[in-house]
Amino acid sequence: MKKVLSIVLTGALAASFVMSASAAEVIKIGGIGPTTGPAGIYGSSVQNAMEIAVEEVNALDGDIQFELMFEDDTHDAETSVNAYNTLKDKGMQILGGTVTTVPCLAVGAEAVADNMLCLTPSASSQDVIDLGDNMFQVCFTDPNQGLASADYISQQGLGTKIGVIYNSADPYSTGILNTFLAEAEVVGLEVLEPQAFTDDNSTDLTTQVQACKDAGADLIFLPIYYTPASQILKAADDMDYDVKFFGVDGMDGILSVEGFDTSLAEGVMLLTPFVATSTDEATVAFVEKYKEKTGGQIPNQFAADGYDVVMTLYKACTEAGVTADMAPSDVCEALKAVLTSGDFSVDGLTGEGMTWDASGAVSKAPRGMVIENGEYQPMD
């Protein structure tokens, strides 16, 4: 028995040598995001898209080969840090995450200490890139979303009295709200007293909608995620309140809520850099692959962000000459130099000619979308 066992163990050891030998030629990218829990749709979208992108990169048979390791953090900061440590133990060299803001702040602090390059697809708080010079974003920062929303509403004359319902317990939501309010004042929008809720008292949001109705709001700005937004749309419909809604990227996903009456979302406007119904070649190809992988799901903006993370890393690694045997800190220095060099730009799914400055914020143009017949349509 012992003999058999020792042979098996020796075999396993030999096999692991072979595996680690082949694995040494690939650059290990880590990904962290919620694939379960209330924000589960974001993490799984990013994971699927990153897997697709890595397959594409590896199929090019170039010098750069990626291996993706993705961990679930259930949108919880502590779990996320544990996931980060697990990935580090597995030899991660670059972090393509995390997906959501609160965990990203916790993980980012660790990544700064390790000098690990961190390119998040969708953690959009300004605080994320303020952590250190190794932090980069593919999505807009929250302040930019608030700013762009206020400008857009004012330019297009979408509303005269603007109501706001936001989540006061979420830095994502309050971050957007603050710049929205500041910019609204600059461009002269009339904004009513913002109505807050928290994660714990979000069961009943009718009071907030009622308050907007009583104050005579003709447009409600929703700097929140789609789950509470779906409740708000239903509440407004129930009280026969005919009002326009304007959301941000967190609104993306509302059409895929199971059992949600999508006719309620008809006419909802949002700023998002990606639309699955676009007809450009890259988007069509990506949507096709994504559907094939997920059994017919339509990719949302988070998926596109995830795809762009991998493609950006691919381009940056190629230009920086990153190799698989480099330590994470060296990889980070090389990529930082390329990303902020000024002449580095990426044509991604979420924007053409994306560039980064030293702060780690991305520069690209937002697009206004409106939901018509259950699909996103460009507003202009």
């Binding site: 209330p38 069961t203 809520v257 009456d261």
Partner: protein, 293 residues
Amino acid sequence: MQFLTYLVRGISLGSVYALIALGYTMVYGIAKMLNFAHGDVIMVGGYVVFFAFCKNGFNPWISVLIAMGACMLLGITIERVAYKPLRGTPSLAVLITAIGVSYFLQNGAMLLWKSDPKSFSSIVGINGLNLFGGKLQISAETIVTIITSIVIMIVLMWFVKKTKPGHAMQAVSEDRGAAQLMGINVNGIISLTFAIGSALAAIAGALLLSSYPTLMPTTGAMPGIKAFTAAVFGGIGSIPGAFLGGILLGIIENLSKAYISTQLSDAIVFLVLIVILLVRPTGLLGKKTTVKV
């Protein structure tokens, strides 16, 4: 009129709390344990109704009946597997187990039904009321929830006071050992209590989600805690107390949202609870018991 609108919304939320609190108080009154998994049984009931009614188009009555059956089975199983072996151990052990069961149900639901939220369509097919020329709207869900919780409260009181199993429940609650000596099947009575409590949870789940349509594995958690607060507020163990506590809690929560702060509503709710407990430690309608030492 604005005040009335907020008041009605408060009563609507409160009647959902009342319905959940009835289940809490029932189990506490008889089995003398806090079943923290009650909120999650509501969530399971909600999913059963979602799949029966919203997905497969069953009649709403039948869907709720199926959910009641499923939740009864679940409640009895939980009691048999998790709580019964701990009978006679310190109450802290049972309490922690109940919290464990709550997490088990939430994570089980996540595995089974995935974590992405589902939007529930109302099981109430009638129209709401429009009073004062449309200025005051009362939704059909509100009316149905209030009526249901009043009916359930009355039936439960009648059941406990007037029927033979009800008397047995009172006896078990009073003195478990003596009840057993009198020939009462204590385990059977506790199972029955859990069955009734869980069936109520299914109804509560269906009505909660008809008014507030987001269904997720964590849907039952917060309303469960609020309803527990309501039960303590009204005097835990007391059936009319749970109803009163639920309604009051809903009204306080909504009025403080409307007139004080949408952010601080929870803080205000729990502050009122603390004040009530300081003044009346047994809750509004709780029985005073003197314990001989």
